[in-house]
Protein backbone atom coordinates (compact mmCIF):
# COMPACT_ATOMS: atom_id res chain seq x y z
CA UNK A 1 0.00 0.00 0.00
CA UNK A 2 2.84 2.36 0.84
CA UNK A 3 4.46 1.44 -2.44
CA UNK A 4 1.29 2.23 -4.29
CA UNK A 5 0.98 5.60 -2.57
CA UNK A 6 4.51 6.92 -2.45
CA UNK A 7 6.34 5.05 -5.20
CA UNK A 8 4.82 6.65 -8.24
CA UNK A 9 5.97 4.84 -11.35
CA UNK A 10 4.83 4.31 -14.89
CA UNK A 11 1.88 2.19 -13.90
CA UNK A 12 0.39 5.20 -12.14
CA UNK A 13 0.66 7.38 -15.22
CA UNK A 14 -0.75 4.64 -17.42
CA UNK A 15 -3.61 4.07 -14.98
CA UNK A 16 -4.38 7.80 -14.93
CA UNK A 17 -4.41 7.85 -18.72
CA UNK A 18 -6.66 4.79 -18.78
CA UNK A 19 -9.10 6.34 -16.34
CA UNK A 20 -9.23 9.56 -18.35
CA UNK A 21 -9.79 7.56 -21.53
CA UNK A 22 -12.61 5.61 -19.90
CA UNK A 23 -14.28 8.81 -18.74
CA UNK A 24 -14.02 10.09 -22.31
CA UNK A 25 -15.56 6.89 -23.66
CA UNK A 26 -18.37 7.15 -21.14
CA UNK A 27 -18.97 10.75 -22.17
CA UNK A 28 -19.18 9.84 -25.84
CA UNK A 29 -21.52 6.93 -25.15
CA UNK A 30 -23.79 8.52 -22.57
CA UNK A 31 -24.17 12.20 -23.36
CA UNK A 32 -26.39 13.50 -26.13
CA UNK A 33 -25.05 17.02 -26.57
CA UNK A 34 -22.71 17.21 -29.55
CA UNK A 35 -20.44 19.69 -27.78
CA UNK A 36 -19.96 17.40 -24.80
CA UNK A 37 -19.21 14.53 -27.17
CA UNK A 38 -16.52 16.63 -28.87
CA UNK A 39 -15.01 17.50 -25.51
CA UNK A 40 -14.97 13.84 -24.51
CA UNK A 41 -13.11 13.03 -27.72
CA UNK A 42 -10.54 15.67 -26.82
CA UNK A 43 -10.21 14.02 -23.42
CA UNK A 44 -9.55 10.65 -25.05
CA UNK A 45 -6.90 12.18 -27.30
CA UNK A 46 -5.24 13.66 -24.23
CA UNK A 47 -5.21 10.30 -22.51
CA UNK A 48 -3.58 8.73 -25.56
CA UNK A 49 -0.98 11.50 -25.55
CA UNK A 50 -0.24 10.86 -21.90
CA UNK A 51 0.34 7.19 -22.66
CA UNK A 52 2.73 8.15 -25.46
CA UNK A 53 4.71 10.45 -23.21
CA UNK A 54 4.83 7.86 -20.42
CA UNK A 55 6.31 5.24 -22.71
CA UNK A 56 8.66 7.85 -24.11
CA UNK A 57 10.00 8.59 -20.65
CA UNK A 58 10.23 4.88 -19.95
CA UNK A 59 12.78 4.57 -22.76
CA UNK A 60 14.27 7.93 -22.01
CA UNK A 61 16.81 8.11 -24.80
CA UNK A 62 17.23 10.30 -27.82
CA UNK A 63 15.09 8.31 -30.24
CA UNK A 64 12.24 8.29 -27.71
CA UNK A 65 11.85 12.00 -28.35
CA UNK A 66 10.01 11.05 -31.52
CA UNK A 67 7.07 10.35 -29.21
CA UNK A 68 7.09 14.04 -28.28
CA UNK A 69 6.96 14.96 -31.95
CA UNK A 70 4.13 12.52 -32.42
CA UNK A 71 2.23 13.92 -29.44
CA UNK A 72 2.66 17.41 -30.88
CA UNK A 73 1.17 16.21 -34.16
CA UNK A 74 -1.72 14.58 -32.29
CA UNK A 75 -2.39 17.95 -30.66
CA UNK A 76 -2.42 19.54 -34.11
CA UNK A 77 -4.87 16.95 -35.41
CA UNK A 78 -7.05 17.51 -32.33
CA UNK A 79 -7.08 21.24 -33.05
CA UNK A 80 -8.15 20.60 -36.64
CA UNK A 81 -10.80 18.17 -35.46
CA UNK A 82 -12.21 20.65 -32.93
CA UNK A 83 -12.26 23.33 -35.61
CA UNK A 84 -14.23 21.28 -38.14
CA UNK A 85 -16.41 19.63 -35.49
CA UNK A 86 -17.48 22.94 -33.95
CA UNK A 87 -18.20 24.33 -37.41
CA UNK A 88 -20.46 21.35 -38.06
CA UNK A 89 -22.17 21.89 -34.70
CA UNK A 90 -22.81 25.55 -35.53
CA UNK A 91 -24.11 24.65 -39.00
CA UNK A 92 -26.43 21.99 -37.57
CA UNK A 93 -27.70 24.40 -34.93
CA UNK A 94 -28.47 26.99 -37.64
CA UNK A 95 -30.83 24.62 -39.36
CA UNK A 96 -32.40 22.76 -36.46
CA UNK A 97 -32.08 24.87 -33.33
CA UNK A 98 -30.64 22.05 -31.28
CA UNK A 99 -27.51 19.93 -31.14
CA UNK A 100 -29.02 16.81 -29.63
CA UNK A 101 -27.44 13.90 -31.47
CA UNK A 102 -30.47 11.68 -30.82
CA UNK A 103 -32.63 14.05 -32.85
CA UNK A 104 -30.30 14.18 -35.86
CA UNK A 105 -31.89 11.34 -37.78
CA UNK A 106 -31.98 12.76 -41.29
CA UNK A 107 -29.47 10.26 -42.62
CA UNK A 108 -31.42 7.35 -41.17
CA UNK A 109 -33.27 5.57 -43.95
Amino acid sequence: MNDLLFDVGYGHFLALAAVLFLIGVAGVLVRRNALIILMSVELMLNAANMTLLTFSRMWGDESALSAHTFALIVIGVAAAEACVGLAIVVAVFRGRRNVDVDKLTTLRH
Binding site: L5, F6, V8, G9, Y10, G11, H12, F13, A15, L16, A18, V19, L20, L22, I23, A26, V30, R31, R32, N33, L35, I36, L38, M39, S40, L43, N46, N49, M50, L53, S56, R57, M58, G60, D61, E62, L65, S66, H68, T69, F70, L72, I73, I75, G76, V77, A78, A79, A80, A82, C83, V84, L86, A87, V89, V90, A91, F93, R94, D102
Partner: protein, 257 residues
Protein backbone atom coordinates in the same frame (compact mmCIF):
# COMPACT_ATOMS: atom_id res chain seq x y z
CA UNK B 1 -17.84 23.46 -8.62
CA UNK B 2 -16.72 24.82 -5.28
CA UNK B 3 -14.86 21.59 -4.50
CA UNK B 4 -13.07 21.82 -7.79
CA UNK B 5 -11.99 25.40 -7.15
CA UNK B 6 -10.64 24.33 -3.77
CA UNK B 7 -8.76 21.48 -5.39
CA UNK B 8 -7.09 23.81 -7.88
CA UNK B 9 -6.23 26.29 -5.14
CA UNK B 10 -4.67 23.53 -3.04
CA UNK B 11 -2.71 22.33 -6.07
CA UNK B 12 -1.38 25.85 -6.69
CA UNK B 13 -0.34 26.33 -3.07
CA UNK B 14 1.36 22.94 -2.97
CA UNK B 15 3.00 23.62 -6.31
CA UNK B 16 4.66 26.65 -4.76
CA UNK B 17 5.55 24.74 -1.61
CA UNK B 18 6.82 21.52 -3.13
CA UNK B 19 10.24 22.52 -4.45
CA UNK B 20 11.23 22.51 -0.79
CA UNK B 21 9.75 19.05 -0.38
CA UNK B 22 11.44 17.75 -3.50
CA UNK B 23 14.80 19.14 -2.50
CA UNK B 24 14.39 17.76 1.00
CA UNK B 25 14.20 14.32 -0.55
CA UNK B 26 17.80 13.33 -1.18
CA UNK B 27 18.32 11.51 -4.43
CA UNK B 28 20.31 8.37 -3.76
CA UNK B 29 23.00 8.53 -6.38
CA UNK B 30 24.00 4.94 -5.76
CA UNK B 31 20.68 3.79 -7.14
CA UNK B 32 21.37 5.39 -10.45
CA UNK B 33 22.54 2.76 -12.90
CA UNK B 34 26.06 3.17 -14.17
CA UNK B 35 25.40 2.30 -17.77
CA UNK B 36 22.39 4.50 -18.40
CA UNK B 37 22.45 6.87 -21.38
CA UNK B 38 25.84 8.40 -21.83
CA UNK B 39 26.82 7.11 -18.45
CA UNK B 40 25.73 8.01 -14.97
CA UNK B 41 26.38 11.44 -13.61
CA UNK B 42 28.63 12.76 -16.32
CA UNK B 43 25.93 14.39 -18.48
CA UNK B 44 24.48 16.14 -15.44
CA UNK B 45 27.87 17.64 -14.80
CA UNK B 46 28.08 18.86 -18.39
CA UNK B 47 24.65 20.42 -18.23
CA UNK B 48 25.23 22.26 -15.03
CA UNK B 49 28.50 23.58 -16.39
CA UNK B 50 27.08 24.89 -19.66
CA UNK B 51 23.80 26.08 -18.17
CA UNK B 52 24.50 27.25 -14.64
CA UNK B 53 20.86 28.21 -14.06
CA UNK B 54 19.51 24.87 -15.15
CA UNK B 55 17.87 23.38 -12.09
CA UNK B 56 17.34 19.68 -12.52
CA UNK B 57 14.62 18.41 -10.25
CA UNK B 58 14.06 14.71 -10.38
CA UNK B 59 10.42 13.76 -10.48
CA UNK B 60 10.54 11.09 -7.84
CA UNK B 61 10.16 10.83 -4.09
CA UNK B 62 7.37 11.72 -1.73
CA UNK B 63 6.89 15.30 -2.90
CA UNK B 64 6.45 14.11 -6.44
CA UNK B 65 4.02 11.41 -5.30
CA UNK B 66 1.97 14.04 -3.48
CA UNK B 67 1.90 16.26 -6.56
CA UNK B 68 1.00 13.33 -8.77
CA UNK B 69 -1.99 12.41 -6.63
CA UNK B 70 -3.19 16.01 -6.46
CA UNK B 71 -2.97 16.56 -10.19
CA UNK B 72 -4.42 13.16 -10.98
CA UNK B 73 -7.38 13.96 -8.73
CA UNK B 74 -7.78 17.34 -10.42
CA UNK B 75 -7.64 15.78 -13.89
CA UNK B 76 -10.18 13.09 -13.05
CA UNK B 77 -12.49 15.52 -11.27
CA UNK B 78 -12.41 17.85 -14.25
CA UNK B 79 -13.10 14.99 -16.62
CA UNK B 80 -16.04 13.89 -14.47
CA UNK B 81 -17.32 17.46 -14.57
CA UNK B 82 -17.31 17.29 -18.37
CA UNK B 83 -19.34 14.11 -18.42
CA UNK B 84 -21.80 14.89 -15.63
CA UNK B 85 -22.57 18.63 -15.68
CA UNK B 86 -25.72 19.83 -17.34
CA UNK B 87 -24.45 23.41 -17.58
CA UNK B 88 -22.16 23.60 -20.59
CA UNK B 89 -20.00 26.39 -19.18
CA UNK B 90 -19.37 24.31 -16.05
CA UNK B 91 -18.35 21.41 -18.29
CA UNK B 92 -15.89 23.62 -20.17
CA UNK B 93 -14.42 24.94 -16.93
CA UNK B 94 -13.93 21.39 -15.70
CA UNK B 95 -12.25 20.60 -18.99
CA UNK B 96 -9.86 23.55 -18.58
CA UNK B 97 -8.95 22.38 -15.07
CA UNK B 98 -8.44 18.87 -16.37
CA UNK B 99 -6.15 20.12 -19.14
CA UNK B 100 -4.08 22.20 -16.73
CA UNK B 101 -3.67 19.18 -14.46
CA UNK B 102 -2.72 17.04 -17.46
CA UNK B 103 -0.08 19.64 -18.38
CA UNK B 104 1.34 19.31 -14.88
CA UNK B 105 1.46 15.54 -15.30
CA UNK B 106 3.32 16.02 -18.59
CA UNK B 107 5.83 18.11 -16.67
CA UNK B 108 6.37 15.17 -14.31
CA UNK B 109 7.12 13.04 -17.35
CA UNK B 110 9.93 15.46 -18.31
CA UNK B 111 7.95 16.69 -21.31
CA UNK B 112 8.40 20.39 -20.65
CA UNK B 113 7.71 21.50 -24.20
CA UNK B 114 4.57 19.39 -24.51
CA UNK B 115 3.31 20.72 -21.17
CA UNK B 116 3.58 24.31 -22.39
CA UNK B 117 1.96 23.40 -25.70
CA UNK B 118 -0.84 21.69 -23.80
CA UNK B 119 -1.52 24.85 -21.82
CA UNK B 120 -1.36 27.12 -24.87
CA UNK B 121 -3.22 25.03 -27.43
CA UNK B 122 -5.72 23.08 -25.35
CA UNK B 123 -6.45 25.15 -22.26
CA UNK B 124 -6.02 28.33 -24.27
CA UNK B 125 -7.09 28.06 -27.86
CA UNK B 126 -9.37 25.04 -28.16
CA UNK B 127 -11.31 25.76 -24.99
CA UNK B 128 -11.84 29.39 -26.04
CA UNK B 129 -13.26 28.01 -29.28
CA UNK B 130 -15.64 25.81 -27.30
CA UNK B 131 -16.73 28.73 -25.11
CA UNK B 132 -17.45 30.82 -28.19
CA UNK B 133 -19.58 28.10 -29.73
CA UNK B 134 -21.46 27.67 -26.43
CA UNK B 135 -22.13 31.39 -26.38
CA UNK B 136 -23.49 31.17 -29.93
CA UNK B 137 -25.72 28.23 -29.10
CA UNK B 138 -26.86 29.60 -25.73
CA UNK B 139 -29.30 26.83 -24.98
CA UNK B 140 -29.46 24.86 -21.75
CA UNK B 141 -29.89 21.15 -22.00
CA UNK B 142 -33.14 19.65 -20.81
CA UNK B 143 -32.07 16.04 -20.49
CA UNK B 144 -28.31 15.39 -20.57
CA UNK B 145 -28.43 11.62 -20.59
CA UNK B 146 -30.59 9.53 -22.86
CA UNK B 147 -33.20 7.54 -20.97
CA UNK B 148 -32.42 3.91 -21.67
CA UNK B 149 -34.61 2.07 -19.19
CA UNK B 150 -33.62 -0.38 -16.50
CA UNK B 151 -32.24 -3.08 -18.82
CA UNK B 152 -30.06 -0.64 -20.72
CA UNK B 153 -28.68 0.80 -17.50
CA UNK B 154 -27.91 -2.68 -16.20
CA UNK B 155 -26.12 -3.70 -19.39
CA UNK B 156 -24.17 -0.44 -19.49
CA UNK B 157 -23.17 -0.73 -15.86
CA UNK B 158 -22.01 -4.31 -16.35
CA UNK B 159 -20.00 -3.32 -19.43
CA UNK B 160 -18.31 -0.46 -17.58
CA UNK B 161 -17.55 -2.71 -14.61
CA UNK B 162 -16.05 -5.31 -16.93
CA UNK B 163 -13.91 -2.70 -18.68
CA UNK B 164 -12.63 -1.24 -15.41
CA UNK B 165 -11.95 -4.72 -14.02
CA UNK B 166 -9.97 -5.84 -17.04
CA UNK B 167 -7.99 -2.62 -17.01
CA UNK B 168 -7.20 -2.96 -13.31
CA UNK B 169 -6.09 -6.57 -13.82
CA UNK B 170 -3.71 -5.52 -16.58
CA UNK B 171 -2.29 -2.54 -14.74
CA UNK B 172 -1.80 -4.40 -11.47
CA UNK B 173 0.36 -6.99 -13.19
CA UNK B 174 2.63 -4.52 -14.94
CA UNK B 175 6.16 -5.06 -13.72
CA UNK B 176 8.99 -2.80 -14.68
CA UNK B 177 11.95 -4.58 -16.23
CA UNK B 178 14.49 -2.54 -14.33
CA UNK B 179 13.08 -0.19 -11.75
CA UNK B 180 16.26 1.77 -11.16
CA UNK B 181 16.69 2.62 -14.84
CA UNK B 182 13.00 3.19 -15.35
CA UNK B 183 12.64 5.68 -12.54
CA UNK B 184 15.85 7.67 -13.06
CA UNK B 185 15.58 11.00 -14.80
CA UNK B 186 16.35 10.74 -18.50
CA UNK B 187 19.90 11.63 -19.37
CA UNK B 188 20.50 14.77 -21.43
CA UNK B 189 20.96 14.10 -25.10
CA UNK B 190 23.81 15.29 -27.26
CA UNK B 191 22.99 17.49 -30.23
CA UNK B 192 25.48 18.14 -33.00
CA UNK B 193 26.61 21.74 -32.89
CA UNK B 194 25.83 24.17 -35.68
CA UNK B 195 28.48 26.38 -37.22
CA UNK B 196 31.63 26.49 -35.20
CA UNK B 197 30.03 25.26 -31.98
CA UNK B 198 30.75 21.75 -30.91
CA UNK B 199 28.27 19.12 -29.73
CA UNK B 200 25.95 20.36 -27.04
CA UNK B 201 24.15 18.55 -24.25
CA UNK B 202 20.53 19.64 -23.83
CA UNK B 203 17.95 18.45 -21.37
CA UNK B 204 15.68 15.67 -22.50
CA UNK B 205 12.25 16.93 -23.51
CA UNK B 206 13.17 20.60 -23.67
CA UNK B 207 12.24 22.84 -26.58
CA UNK B 208 15.69 22.44 -28.11
CA UNK B 209 15.69 18.66 -27.93
CA UNK B 210 12.14 18.28 -29.25
CA UNK B 211 12.82 20.86 -31.95
CA UNK B 212 15.88 18.96 -33.13
CA UNK B 213 13.70 15.89 -33.54
CA UNK B 214 10.76 17.79 -35.00
CA UNK B 215 12.81 19.48 -37.73
CA UNK B 216 14.92 16.43 -38.37
CA UNK B 217 13.13 13.08 -38.66
CA UNK B 218 9.72 14.61 -38.03
CA UNK B 219 9.87 17.26 -40.73
CA UNK B 220 7.43 15.62 -43.12
CA UNK B 221 4.64 15.13 -40.53
CA UNK B 222 5.24 18.70 -39.40
CA UNK B 223 4.67 20.04 -42.90
CA UNK B 224 1.74 17.69 -43.41
CA UNK B 225 0.07 18.96 -40.25
CA UNK B 226 0.32 22.53 -41.52
CA UNK B 227 -1.54 21.54 -44.69
CA UNK B 228 -4.10 19.65 -42.60
CA UNK B 229 -4.71 22.74 -40.46
CA UNK B 230 -5.11 24.89 -43.55
CA UNK B 231 -7.65 22.46 -45.00
CA UNK B 232 -9.48 22.34 -41.67
CA UNK B 233 -9.70 26.14 -41.45
CA UNK B 234 -11.01 26.43 -45.02
CA UNK B 235 -13.46 23.60 -44.42
CA UNK B 236 -14.70 25.13 -41.17
CA UNK B 237 -15.36 28.46 -42.87
CA UNK B 238 -17.14 26.71 -45.74
CA UNK B 239 -19.32 24.69 -43.35
CA UNK B 240 -20.20 27.37 -40.83
CA UNK B 241 -20.98 30.10 -43.34
CA UNK B 242 -24.71 30.84 -43.67
CA UNK B 243 -26.18 29.25 -46.76
CA UNK B 244 -27.96 32.40 -47.95
CA UNK B 245 -25.66 35.38 -47.60
CA UNK B 246 -28.53 37.88 -47.98
CA UNK B 247 -30.32 36.96 -44.77
CA UNK B 248 -27.15 36.15 -42.92
CA UNK B 249 -27.98 38.41 -39.98
CA UNK B 250 -31.52 37.12 -39.72
CA UNK B 251 -30.42 33.52 -39.85
CA UNK B 252 -28.06 34.06 -36.93
CA UNK B 253 -29.73 32.20 -34.07
CA UNK B 254 -27.75 34.03 -31.41
CA UNK B 255 -29.50 37.34 -31.92
CA UNK B 256 -33.06 35.98 -31.85
CA UNK B 257 -33.29 33.30 -29.21
Amino acid sequence: MKLFAWLIAAALILGVATPALVHAQPVPTAERPPGQGQGGDAPHAIVSKTHPHDDIVESRGKGMALLFWIFAAAAITGALFVVTRRNLIAAVMGMVGSFIAIAAVYMMLYAQFLAVIQMLVYAGAIMVLFVFVIMILNRPEDEPVAPTGRIGTAIGGLAILYMVGRLAMILVHVTLPNKAIALASPAPIMLPGWGSAGPEAVGWGTVKAVGADLFGPGLFPFEAISILLLVAVVGAIAIARPLHPDDGTDADPGTHP
